[in-house]
């Protein structure tokens, strides 16, 4: 079995030289995943964000992480392949190279022992370069345009769903009975005190005599 040191010293550099666009894609996917995890943890530790914002941004971060990975793998290599195919079809050719020479070069690739010329090596580099350029373009489209739009939509949906679930739970655990607002002047105690302090009651108290039966009659008249 290959040792770890040997793997990093020979196998990975070999892959970098042979397939630079693959290396750029897979390493980007790795770093963006690690970055997403770090950002998710930092959001949870942030004390200045309100709970609602924290939740929304956390969903967004986790969505970003998954989406970056999916978008990168879907777009980046596909764009790279398109770029190479364009170059092989004779588009975007550099100075001094004609479309016919590209066709000849592709024929030579299929023949074993065919002699490669200077122009052929120029075409090979050009095809590789177009592939790398298209891969980077694919990464830009995937990471900076497609992933942010989709993640915002997903984070919004997730946030709405969680709020709905929360409201449902509240409704189940604490049912609210229908109530009507109570007017202050309709409470019996306040009604009694207000009548005591009214002008009519003052006159009534002044007219009170020593005979209690008369006073009662006065009160209920």
């Amino acid at each position: 079995m290959m040792k770890a040191g040997q793997f990093f010293k020979t196998a990975v550099p070999r892959y970098v030289i042979k397939n630079n666009k693959g290396f750029l894609t897979y390493t980007s996917a790795l770093t963006f995943t690690v970055s997403g995890l770090g950002q998710g943890l930092s959001v949870l530790n942030n004390k200045k964000l309100s709970k609602d914002h924290k939740k929304y941004i956390f969903y967004q971060e986790m969505g970003t992480m998954g989406l970056n990975l999916a978008a990168l793998l879907a777009f980046s290599l596909k764009f790279g392949q398109w770029g190479e195919n364009w170059a092989k079809a004779g588009r975007f050719l550099p100075n001094g190279v004609k479309a016919g020479q590209v066709k000849e070069y592709i024929k030579k690739l299929g023949q074993s022992g065919a002699k490669m010329t200077d122009v052929d090596s120029k075409i090979a580099t050009h095809i590789k370069a177009t592939g790398v350029a298209a891969t980077i373009l694919g990464q830009i489209v995937a990471l900076n345009i497609v992933a942010p739009i989709v993640r915002n939509l997903l984070a919004g949906c997730a946030d709405r769903c969680s709020k709905k679930c929360k409201n449902k739970e509240k409704f189940i655990h604490s049912p609210v009975l229908p109530t009507t607002p109570i007017r202050q002047d309709q409470i019996p105690v306040t009604m009694f005190t207000s009548t005591l302090h009214s002008a009519k009651s003052k006159d009534m108290f002044e007219s009170f005599t020593d005979d209690p039966s008369k006073n009662v009659k006065e009160l209920f008249n």
């Binding site: 550099p13 970098v16 030289i17 630079n20 390493t27 090596s121 350029a133």
Partner: protein, 211 residues
């Protein structure tokens, strides 16, 4: 009527595809640091705008959108900065590590180069695309050319590997430590980004004036 000669029209025009194709050979050896820079620079503009715009972030309210956009802006500065710097450091380590004897080119690595660049012409072309002048290659025999290419290619490749390894560590640490302090600082310093803060400031001012 004055007609512009055809040659002059060409001289004033900008042919983007020709410009791209003539410089394209350099892109075949794009370093991870440059790739991260291209992605980060475009992300700084597009991702911030997409988070801030209502039609691309329709479910969030105004304040959340502002928070998101501020956070994305801070995030892009930190992640791009740390990613590019870590990769540059790795690439420097790869390049100078071989010169100073930290790494050695493994035996038989020439075969890997030979398998990728099959002819001497292809190897010469690759050396030119790496920035070597034609005069320096002209007098060399095929073995010397292969050696020179191996010495040029291996440090770049090991540098790319070291750069990515460093970036993985640095991105995790930098993202955890710096994104939120920078976001909070931006929200504190820019009142138009933080509605609550703006309202609090106005309240404080009114209370001060009353006193």
């Amino acid at each position: 009527m004055v007609t512009i000669p055809r040659s002059r029209k060409v001289a004033f025009g900008f042919n983007a595809s020709k410009c791209f194709t003539n410089k394209a050979a350099n892109l075949a050896n794009t370093k991870p640091s440059m790739q991260r820079l291209y992605i980060g620079a475009t992300a700084l503009v597009t991702q911030t705008a997409l988070d801030y715009a209502k039609w691309t972030n329709p479910f969030a309210d105004d304040e959340t959108r502002k928070n998101c956009a501020t956070r994305t802006f801070a995030k892009m500065i930190v992640t791009t900065g740390s990613g590019v710097l870590a990769r540059i450091a790795g690439e420097w380590l790869g390049k100078n590590g071989i010169e100073k004897g930290l790494f050695k080119i493994p035996k038989g690595f020439e075969e890997v180069i030979k398998a990728t660049y099959k002819t001497t012409a292809a190897q010469k072309n690759e050396l030119i695309s790496l920035g070597m002048k034609l005069e320096r290659i002209a007098g060399k025999n095929p073995k010397e050319i292969l050696d020179t290419l191996t010495k040029k290619k291996y440090p770049t490749a090991i540098g790319a590997v070291a750069g990515v390894a460093m970036a993985v560590v640095s991105v995790f640490v930098a993202d955890m430590l710096f994104i939120d302090p920078i976001t909070n600082w931006m929200l504190d310093k820019c009142p138009w980004l933080n509605k609550n803060k703006k309202a609090k400031d106005i309240d404080n001012k009114q209370q001060y004036e009353k006193k």
